[in-house]
C-alpha cells in the first residue's frame, strides 16, 4: 500500500523543489514544504525519485517554473603533485576547456554523472540539494589511486606501472561521485559487509553511468569499471568486472583479480577495512544477474530497485549481505508487485550468488 499524503502537490514535487519552497515561500508554504520534506525518505522508498520527477515535469511544471532549475555546479582543483586538497581552483562552471586532460576529463565526467543522477533518479547532485561537485586532480606523485574523502573526489595521475591518469575513466569518476551519494543516502559503514555493499553500489553507479552515457543495453555493455586506466603492459581488461568478478586482470605486477563472485568464496581479512574491495564482487555479480535477467537498460529496473534500496529508511548503516538482499527484494515487491518478473529476478539473482533470502 502506498503511503498517504496530505499535500498531493508536494507529494509530486522532488526534494530540491521543496527545499526552494522552504527557503523562499511564505510561512504556510514553508511549513507544508518542511513537513513534506520530513517524510521524503518514505516517499522515495515507496515510489522512487524518478517517479516524483516524471510527475513534476508533467502536470506540475507550472509549479516548478518559478523555482530554480537544478543545474550542475563543478569546480576542479589542481594539486600539482602535492596532497593539498584545498589547492587552487583551475576550472569552474562556465569556463572553457583548460587543455589539461585531467582537469577537463574530471569536469566532463562529473557533468555526465550529474546528468545521469538527475535524468534517471531526479537527484540534484551528491546530496540531492545541488551540492557543488568538488574535484582534485594531479594529487600526489605517481599516485595510483582515486578516492572520495567525505567532501571531494580526488584523482592521482597514476605511476604508469599500475595505473595511468585515473580521470580518463568515466566509470571511475562516477564510482567516486557515487560514494558521495551513498554517504548522503545510506550511509553504509565502510567496514566488512556494509563496506563491501558501499563499494558494490559505487561500482554499480559507475557501470550504469558508463552504459547510460554510451546508450548501451545490458547485453551490449561490457560491465567493466576502470578499463581506461590500466598501465601499459598490464595484462588485464579493467579494474573490476561486475559480470565476471575475478577475471578483470591476471598480471605479474597486479596479481590475479581476487574478487569472489559467490558466497562460497567470501574472503575474511583484516586488510582493506575487511575486504571491502574484494567481497563487493558478490553483490556486483548479483546486480549483473538482476539486470541480465530483465534485459533492456540496467538503470531502468535493476538500477531503480538498487537506488530505492539505498534510500529506504529501513537500510541500516551496518547492514550485511543477507539483510540487504531481503530489503532489495522487498523494494522490488513494493515497486513492481509481489512475484512480479522484477521481484523474481532479484530473488533469483541473490540465490545465484549464494545469499540465502
Amino acid at each position: 500500500m502506498r503511503p498517504s499524503c496530505r499535500h498531493p502537490v508536494h507529494c509530486l514535487v522532488p526534494d530540491y523543489v521543496l527545499r526552494e519552497v522552504a527557503k523562499r515561500g511564505g510561512d504556510a508554504q514553508r511549513e507544508r514544504a518542511l513537513d513534506t520534506l520530513g517524510r521524503s525518505t518514505t516517499l522515495r522508498s515507496a515510489r522512487t525519485q524518478a517517479e516524483a520527477r516524471r510527475a513534476a515535469i508533467g502536470p506540475s511544471r507550472s509549479a516548478t517554473a518559478a523555482l530554480r532549475i537544478p543545474k550542475v555546479n563543478r569546480i576542479i582543483r589542481d594539486a600539482g603533485g602535492s596532497e593539498d586538497l584545498g589547492a587552487a581552483v583551475v576550472r569552474r562552471e562556465g569556463d572553457a576547456d583548460t587543455g589539461d586532460p585531467a582537469v577537463d576529463e574530471a569536469f566532463e565526467y562529473f557533468g555526465a554523472t550529474w546528468d545521469f543522477f538527475f535524468e534517471v533518479f531526479a537527484r540534484d547532485s551528491i546530496d540531492g540539494a545541488g551540492m557543488t561537485l568538488d574535484g582534485v586532480v594531479h594529487y600526489g606523485r605517481d599516485f595510483d589511486n582515486a578516492f572520495w574523502d567525505g567532501d571531494q573526489m580526488v584523482f592521482g595521475d597514476g605511476s604508469g606501472r599500475l595505473f595511468t591518469r585515473l580521470t580518463q575513466s568515466l566509470s571511475v569518476c562516477a564510482h567516486e561521485l557515487g560514494h558521495g551519494v551513498i554517504q548522503y543516502d545510506g550511509p553504509l559503514v565502510y567496514q566488512g559487509e556494509s563496506g563491501a555493499l558501499n563499494e558494490h553500489i559505487a561500482d554499480a553507479f559507475g557501470a550504469m553511468v558508463d552504459q547510460w552515457h554510451h546508450d548501451q543495453t545490458v547485453e551490449a555493455a561490457d560491465w567493466l569499471v576502470g578499463k581506461e586506466i590500466l598501465g601499459e603492459g598490464v595484462q588485464g581488461k579493467a579494474l573490476r568486472s561486475l559480470k565476471e568478478p575475478g577475471t578483470a586482470y591476471d598480471d605479474d605486477l597486479l596479481g590475479k583479480d581476487p574478487q569472489p563472485a559467490h558466497m562460497d568464496d567470501f574472503v575474511r581479512t583484516h586488510d582493506d577495512n575487511g575486504g571491502v574491495h574484494l567481497n563487493s564482487g558478490i553483490p556486483n555479480r548479483a546486480f549483473y544477474e538482476i539486470a541480465s535477467r530483465l534485459g533492456g537498460y540496467s538503470w531502468e529496473h535493476a538500477g531503480r530497485v538498487l537506488y530505492a534500496t539505498l534510500g529506504n529508511p529501513q537500510l541500516r548503516p551496518t547492514v550485511g549481505f543477507r539483510r540487504f538482499a531481503r530489503l532489495n527484494l522487498a523494494v522490488a515487491n513494493q515497486l513492481y508487485g509481489v512475484a512480479s518478473r522484477e521481484a523474481q529476478a532479484v530473488e533469483g539473482a541473490w540465490e545465484a550468488v549464494g545469499v540465502d533470502l
Binding site: D149, E199, D272
Partner: protein, 109 residues
C-alpha cells in the same frame, strides 16, 4: 636485566581502488645508521602511538582511501594501530610517510 631490544616499526598498507593489493615496509632502528635511528625514534614519539592504539581502529568518512596498520615494538612493548579513510591523525602522518618512502625504496630495490 636483559636488553629490551631496539625500536622496530612495520607498516601494512591495504585498500585503495585495487582489490587485494597490499604493501608492507619495516624499519628496524638497530639496522639504521645513527641519524636515521634517532629520526625514527622522534617520529614514533611524536605520533604518541600508545594513545592512538587505545583508540584503534580509527576510521573516518571517505572511500577508496588507504588503510594503514602500524605495529611498533619499542623496547619490548608492542602497539598496533589501524587507521583509515580521512581519519589519519596529523601526528601519525610523518611516520607513515617515512615508512611509505621505505616501501617505495624496497619496491625499486
Amino acid at each position: 636485566m636483559a636488553d629490551p631490544g631496539p625500536l622496530s616499526v612495520t607498516l601494512r598498507r591495504s585498500g585503495g581502488l585495487l582489490p587485494g593489493h597490499v604493501f608492507e615496509a619495516s624499519l628496524d632502528a638497530g639496522a639504521l645508521d645513527a641519524d636515521e635511528a634517532v629520526e625514527l625514534q622522534r617520529l614514533v614519539a611524536a605520533a604518541n602511538v600508545p594513545a592512538l592504539a587505545a583508540r584503534s581502529p580509527i576510521r573516518g568518512l571517505g572511500a577508496d582511501m588507504y588503510q594503514y596498520e602500524l605495529r611498533v615494538d619499542d623496547g619490548g612493548r608492542c602497539e598496533r594501530v589501524v587507521v583509515s579513510g580521512a581519519a589519519v591523525p596529523e601526528e601519525l602522518k610523518p611516520l607513515i610517510e617515512r615508512l611509505e618512502r621505505e616501501t617505495r625504496r624496497q619496491a625499486h630495490g
